[in-house]
């Protein structure tokens, strides 16, 4: 078991190095750089000398191999560098947004699980009934609807309904308040994006739960349990559900990792100062150091989530052993 964990952790390294090389090359394939944009981006006169100074200061004018060497040294010494756009340490830029993204990811995952598991189980247990059809329609609608679009609808709905009911339009706050400072303000901002994204991801998980449950419910041991006269509720909840969870846990794990850095558009729609919005800003500003660090962060989260999911497999199915 321990050797398996060590092996998996060691495998993280080549994955990260591969991602680092790829993002380094891809970023530099795009013409232009942060200095061009910073000093001439508003159509104003940009002194070429000033742009050159900026490029020298940021190391962009160095040959690629020197830039790559500096990047790799920073990578192995965990020195993320300074944002080329704001001059602030990259670690600081990420840290102030991590908390918000983590909270939204947790809330959206919880929303997804709370919706997906009961609906998936009910849908499987009541296969080909009206209940099943309604659940399937609900989940297909979730897959079809992008979460940012649902987010826009939620905001418009809030604006219109509050105007109609209270005479004043209201929308969620657009400045983040930590939950320990003001839980009401915090939840009134984050509950809506969590619902919008949670519903989207619950749709995938609902369908996965349903199909996994249907498969398990046809297993011999379930038939045996029924033949022994066990109650259907016990069969489903105690004997079938846990065994049907393997693919569902995989989906939820991947979704959580995606939510940490992938809420690019939803964060824009709700003006959340999270990692997704930072990603957009970093890429559009050609901020190499920040983009590279964010990509590495997301890769790390993905690899760690996959690792955690693997660990959960053994708990869910004792037949699985690691060697």
């Amino acid at each position: 078991m321990y050797s398996y964990i060590v092996k998996r952790l060691l495998m993280l390294l080549p994955t990260l190095i591969g991602a680092a090389i790829l993002i380094f090359i891809l970023l530099r394939l795009v013409p232009g750089d942060v200095c061009d944009l910073k000093f001439g981006g508003e159509g104003s006169y940009a002194d070429p000398e000033q742009i050159r100074q900026c490029q020298d200061r940021l190391g962009i004018s160095n040959p690629f191999y020197i830039q790559f060497w500096d990047y790799m040294v920073g990578f192995f010494t965990l020195d993320l560098g300074v944002s080329m756009w704001t001059n602030q340490p990259v670690g600081y830029e990420i840290a102030i947004r991590f908390e918000l993204s983590l909270q939204v990811a947790i809330m959206a995952t919880l929303t997804s699980v709370v919706i997906a598991l009961p609906l998936g189980v009910i849908s499987a247990a009541k296969q080909n009934t009206m209940v099943d059809y309604v659940v399937r329609a609900f989940s297909i609608a979730g897959i079809a609807m992008p979460s940012f679009w649902l987010g826009i609808l939620i905001i418009l709905g809030l604006l219109i309904t509050t105007q109609a009911w209270f005479g004043r339009s209201w929308m969620p706050p657009i400045i983040y308040t930590p939950i320990w400072v003001d839980p009401v303000a915090n939840l009134s901002q984050l509950i809506w994006p969590a619902l919008a994204t949670g519903y989207r991801y619950s749709a995938v998980a609902t369908r996965m739960t349903r199909s996994a449950m249907l498969e398990v419910l046809r297993e011999d041991y379930v038939r045996t349990a029924r033949a022994k006269g066990l109650m259907e509720k016990v069969i489903v909840n105690k004997h079938a559900l846990k065994n049907a969870m393997l693919p569902v846990v995989t989906i939820i794990g991947i979704e959580f990792a995606f939510l940490m850095g992938g809420l690019v558009v939803t964060e824009q729609v709700f003006n959340l100062n999270g990692l997704g919005k930072l990603f957009v800003a970093a890429v559009s500003q050609s901020d190499y150091t920040l983009t590279q660090a964010l990509v590495m962060l997301v890769v790390t989260i993905f690899v760690l989530m996959n690792f955690l999911v693997d660990m959960l497999y053994a708990w869910l199915d004792p037949r699985i052993r690691y060697s």
């Binding site: 795009v30 013409p31 232009g32 750089d33 942060v34 061009d36 944009l37 910073k38 000093f39 001439g40 981006g41 508003e42 159509g43 104003s44 006169y45 940009a46 002194d47 070429p48 000033q50 100074q53 900026c54 756009w85 704001t86 001059n87 602030q88 600081y92 830029e93 102030i96 947004r97 826009i152 905001i155 418009l156 809030l158 604006l159 509050t162 105007q163 004043r168 339009s169 209201w170 929308m171 969620p172 706050p173 657009i174 400045i175 983040y176 824009q268 729609v269 709700f270 003006n271 100062n273 919005k277 930072l278 957009v280 800003a281 559009s284 500003q285 050609s286």
Partner: protein, 570 residues
């Protein structure tokens, strides 16, 4: 269909300009919009006519569509820095905050009295500095701080950047005979000196800060003398300022503080105003957004509109065939119906005004009548223009010309105007495709690759300063991407820079304009931008300027508390 009133008060203000004469300034439209016709006019008149007394207190919530690269005005050029940071700083002189729509009305900020008239044949300007002005850390401002600031701007030490250096080419040296006097000695008389000094980016820094902390310290630190003091900045989220109790303009600011909320998506900014999470946005919304807000909120919204010192320019690449042929370039300009474009595009995009190279309405700009008679593409008879365009294309052997219009991947107004241009050119048989790039590669194409055929470019400036602004069209100007050279144009501009005589300046600007837009058609103008600022009607005291960089100190803004309570609650 719902009908909304649109009662406009057009105030043609009179002001004493920098040339020392009464000038009718560009019209400022203060638009008060009400939800229904019957109420609309009455509310608008009522609100517009009341002689309101400013109230103290409250916090202004401003939404800003761009992030802050650094706090240093001397190197930045984005409104994303100006809107949140300008209220912490002062300027030596500025545009008149009570008459910001005038492009020529400048007043003292850190100096006292009127903006000085030049002496010594237009080569010396002497400013008297206010006494007792305090920086946020308690330092007292003296003339040495003004000198250190402008020395940094016009002649920064080796290795230190200044994005404004080119604007101060006329400065020879700065002297400080005493703590309250600053003397600017110019190399030659210049019509651009006063507007350049008044630029909102020229934050006055403390000499001690520069000497002790270095010339890059202000990129990440704030210590100013403005109406507000820096309180907090959360990267990517917001900036907070609180009232400066030591502010030298007595009685101001009215607000207790303000929060600049960073919101890159326009829909968020719009909905934030509608949903009571923000009060105002200073850059400007497109007409549809204004109409949506007015429709939703009726009399809770005030709208101010103005011509905007930004212009979209068509830039043919003279090194790419057939755009090296002036007949082809002229045909492109002749094919464009600017007047109908103004009428229809102004309903969907932030463009409106037909003009030449100078900001429309400025004393140095050409009148509409002059443009109509003298410049290709400005004649009212579009059929005749297009017939001439077809003739020129035929003569050049380019009747069925196909080319690509390079454009910036931003909707307002670039992509809208780009699409319109393609349609205009179709009328003379041209087949044009649009090549849209995000901002970074867009500039790389213009400045480095230079592999475009025709590009849509723009010129967006702060203080209206036509002599400096039109350097955009100069081959050696540094921001001209048309890839050509013209000795005559350079010579006209050189002469223009060194004359202090206004009449002569106007003649030279027109000569320059004729050369750019007509003789060479080296580049040509589409439409000037049009600024629309809808905001909550409890916000008072702010007046629109012809630039989103101007009048952003927030000192004269106040909140009508009763109205705020009615609209937002609390």
């Amino acid at each position: 269909m719902a009908v909304h009133s649109d009662t406009r008060f057009e105030a043609n203000a009179a002001s004493t300009d920098m040339f020392g004469k009464e000038t009718t300034v560009m019209k400022q439209r203060l638009t008060r919009l009400a939800g229904a016709v019957a109420f609309g006019a009455a509310l608008a008149v009522g609100a517009g006519a009341q002689a309101a007394t400013p109230e103290y207190g409250g916090e202004l919530r401003v939404v800003v569509g761009s992030d802050i690269p650094s706090y240093d005005g001397h190197i930045e050029s984005t409104f994303g820095m100006i809107h949140p940071i300008r209220p912490f700083y002062s300027l030596l002189i500025r545009i008149n905050p009570d008459n910001p729509s005038s492009p020529t009305d400048f007043v003292c900020d850190l100096c006292v009295g009127a903006v000085p008239e030049p002496t010594n044949d237009g080569k010396t300007y002497t400013f008297k500095i206010r006494k007792g002005v305090k920086f946020q850390d308690g330092q007292i401002l003296t003339s040495a701080d003004i000198k250190a600031t402008f020395d940094k701007l016009f002649a920064p030490p080796e290795g230190i950047a200044s994005n404004r250096k080119a604007y101060f080419a006329m400065i020879d040296r700065i002297e400080t005979p005493d703590d309250e006097t600053v003397v600017f000695q110019l190399k030659f008389p210049s019509g651009t000196f006063i507007p350049s000094i008044a630029m909102p980016f020229n934050f006055v820094y403390s000499k001690k800060d520069l000497e002790t902390n270095g010339y890059t310290w202000h990129q990440t630190n704030i210590n100013g003398t403005g109406p507000f003091r820096f309180a907090e900045h959360i990267q990517g989220s917001h900036v907070k300022g609180v009232k400066n109790p030591d502010y030298y303009h007595k009685g101001m600011p009215y607000l207790d503080g303000y929060t600049s909320i960073i919101a890159p998506k326009m829909s968020v900014r719009l909905q934030a105003i509608r949903g009571g999470q923000a009060d105002i946005e200073f850059r400007g919304f497109p007409p549809k957004a204004r109409d949506d807000l007015v429709k939703a909120l009726g009399d809770k919204i005030t709208v101010q509109e103005s011509d905007w010192n930004c212009v979209l320019i068509v830039t043919p690449n003279h090194k790419m065939k057939p755009f090296d042929d002036p007949r082809v370039r002229r045909a492109l300009s002749l094919a464009v119906d600017r007047y109908s474009g103004s009428e229809y595009l102004s309903k969907i995009a932030i463009v409106k005004t037909v003009g030449g190279v100078g900001f429309p309405g400025h004393p140095l700009a050409s009148s509409p009548e002059y443009l109509e008679k003298n410049i290709a593409g400005y004649g009212r008879d579009i059929e005749a223009n297009r017939a001439e365009a077809k003739r020129l294309l035929k003569e050049a052997g380019q009747e069925n010309l196909k080319f690509t219009l390079h454009n910036r991947g931003v909707d307002q107004p670039y992509k809208v105007v780009g699409t319109w241009l393609i349609d205009q050119w179709k009328h003379v048989g041209l087949n044009v495709e649009q090549w849209v790039q995000p901002s970074t590669p867009f500039y790389a194409t213009l400045r480095k690759q230079k592999d475009f055929q025709v590009s849509l470019d723009f010129n967006c400036q702060a203080v209206v300063n036509p002599i400096a602004d039109i350097s955009k069209f100069l081959p050696s100007g540094g921001a001209n991407y048309a890839e050509f050279e013209d000795a005559e144009l350079e010579s006209i501009y050189k002469e223009l820079l060194k004359t202090g005589d206004v009449k002569k300046q106007k003649e030279l600007v027109q000569k320059y304009e004729k050369r750019v837009l007509d003789d060479l058609t080296s580049q040509f103008i589409t439409l000037w931008w049009y600024k629309i600022n809808p905001y909550r009607s409890y916000v008072n005291g702010w007046k629109i300027a012809p630039s989103h960089y101007l009048n952003q100190s927030l000192e004269n803004i106040w909140i009508d508390k009763a109205e705020y309570k009615r609209q937002v609650g609390g």
